[in-house]
């Protein structure tokens, strides 16, 4: 299996992919040169996990695969204003978020190159995912998280055996803390590592397979660091290169208005993303004021003819109420994508196929869920 090279997105320098580095010497983000293909006839009879797309996952040796049964989450549909909207239920992943896709591939890679100890920073879901997959791999793990995250998420990180460091102050303080730790320990970063994106890309493969090997017209996702959106763009691109779909869906990135650096940059026609001063949002998973791969996110959205939207707190809670009231137990962050789609749905052709990814489990935010009665905020 070809495992590719790590190539700097800034200075184009390349490194062997088994080097334990998480960024270029110049400080640039690394991407993985790895352009695999898959024959869909080979998939028949394989178990419904993301590892069914084995050929496109950059792990050399099967013995290094760290799996908790992630992937092939249900694709279901609801009726909304006379239209059918598909929901991809990634909140039903092993630790309760789509981050398990990235963590499974990233931790498998860490195991493959002999890493014994990782650090990661996360507002909660990525931390829970890294903690669980590290535990499954027998790798020590320390998570840095902003103080004040959902207690359920922090409890989940600790319960899986990871050390947890809560950091006071805005999100960037957590980033600073993990970067200090990364000087002496491998940084298993969902924001930096391209392996994480090669995990999240499987969401695109699954949607296409579950729709009967066709791409949707629109994919709407909440975006903080954009790991799901960038993974989806990567996956749809691979699928098109393999001749399995004929176009990439319009990618609709949705951010809470209270923390919308990508939306602001997109609307201003920028190609990079200035940091913003953010206000608190119920969608804590998207509370990222300086997304690491911001420029890539803008480029991906524009390349697909998509858009970056922002939605208000009331719109997020309304969308959450809608989803809860249809029986889907998701967290507020997961409702951000739906809130965005509702704003563009009236302008879409009626025969267009839209998919919204449910990114995180409602049980992660029990105290928030407790604020709802009869499907509506009380």
């Amino acid at each position: 299996m070809i495992n590719g090279f790590l190539t700097c997105t800034v200075c184009r320098r390349s490194f062997a992919s088994d080097e334990p580095r998480w960024r270029c010497d110049c400080g640039g983000i690394l991407d993985l040169d790895f352009a695999p293909g898959i024959d869909r006839r080979a998939l028949a009879g394989r178990p419904p996990t993301l590892w069914r797309y084995r050929e496109v996952l950059p792990i050399r040796d099967d013995a290094n695969i760290v799996s908790l049964g992630e992937g092939f989450t249900p694709l279901t549909a609801i009726e909304l204003e006379g239209r059918t909207v598909h929901l991809k239920l990634d909140h039903l992943s092993p630790t309760g978020s789509f981050k398990d896709r990235g963590a499974s591939v990233l931790v498998s890679h860490a195991k493959e190159i002999g890493i014994g100890h990782v650090v990661e920073d996360s507002s909660g879901n990525a931390g829970a995912a890294l903690a669980a997959y590290s535990a499954a791999a027998g790798i020590r793990c320390r998570i840095f998280a902003p103080a004040g995250c959902s207690p359920g998420k922090l409890a989940q990180i600790r319960a899986a055996g990871a050390a947890l460091t809560e950091v006071n102050g805005p999100r960037r303080e957590t980033t600073r803390a993990v970067l200090r730790a990364a000087e002496s320990t491998w940084y298993a970063s969902h924001g930096w590592s391209p392996y994480f994106l090669h995990g999240t890309k499987t969401c695109a493969y699954e949607i296409v397979e579950q729709l009967g090997w066709r791409a949707p017209d629109v994919l709407a996702v909440p975006v903080g660091n954009g790991t799901l959106l960038l993974g989806a763009h990567l996956g749809f691109g691979e699928l098109r290169a393999a001749g399995l779909i004929d176009r990439i869906p319009r990618l609709v990135a949705v951010q809470p208005a209270n923390c919308a650096p990508l939306h602001r940059a997109f609307m201003a026609g920028e190609t990079t993303v200035p940091e913003v001063e953010a206000s608190p949002t119920v969608a804590e998973g998207t509370a990222v004021d300086a997304p690491i791969r911001g420029a890539q996110i803008l480029a991906a959205v524009r390349a697909t003819g998509g858009v970056v939207l922002s939605v208000g707190e009331d719109e997020i809670l309304d969308a959450l109420s809608l989803l809860l009231g249809r029986g889907h137990c998701v967290e507020p962050t997961a409702a951000v994508g739906m809130a965005g789609l509702r704003n563009i749905l009236p302008g879409m052709d009626r025969d267009e196929v839209s998919v919204v990814v449910m990114t995180g489990h409602g049980l992660k935010a029990g105290e928030r869920l407790a604020g709802f009665r009869n499907g509506t905020p009380r």
Copy 2:
């Protein structure tokens, strides 16, 4: 599609299955006369939900199917004392427990016979499942739950739009309250309805398919009202009748010692189950002092050469710690089956295949999870 008859397990009287009744006039439990078969070659290409076994599910019209993407949960494995133990990850069901299997079929049946309002009693998971599936079906739902259940479970019930009545006192007070309500409203009971068991039976179908169309030697499950165990027995029986497996696994029912009426009756050689005085247990889902189908559970376990075990609170917490430390985020009740299996594993042949069902999500019990650090109780 033949939809069967409801037949009383006591007086053998039969009723049409579209009659809105939940028990016989004599007070007896109703079972469904319905002996379907399936051709496994027909399954290729069907979506991985429990509805892939469409032929064996007692719903006449596809239009009445109420689905949230339930079923075909991952079957994964861990190494334990030099052996491989398979875990069936039913906690990754839509509302976070195996109860979604039963609720999907039961609520589909309710929709099929035109029910507009249901009541149910539950220590939490069944209530959350009924609430969510009723919401998806547009059926009104009231849940009676013992006061003091996990706040996350109660919040989940309310968030899905169900009315919730918390009942003080022991579990039997909740039972009395729902029976009063059932005099005027349809009782969508996970304990009484055979439709619920025709949902939970799909767990057996999936395990057999996921093992490559072979039955395991041992299936270990936590048992309160025994809906998973009885469903599994039903499913394995149907699979054997269809010639798809050659034997039914030994069913290992596990109860917390603090509330173990089935264990006590089993050990005493009884065929019915006297009510016991129970103490509180961390495994709240199994805190059932008078299981409705107790006699059936004893008969099913004995027919398979299985056993009813009891495990102490420390053993449950140890098993929970083991599972959390392997990355599986389950609730204490889900650890009961593993605690039981650990007690019999040393006496099993090394080539025997065992499966333990992970019945509920750890995120349902965040406050309990918060009691764990580094994978162990603090």
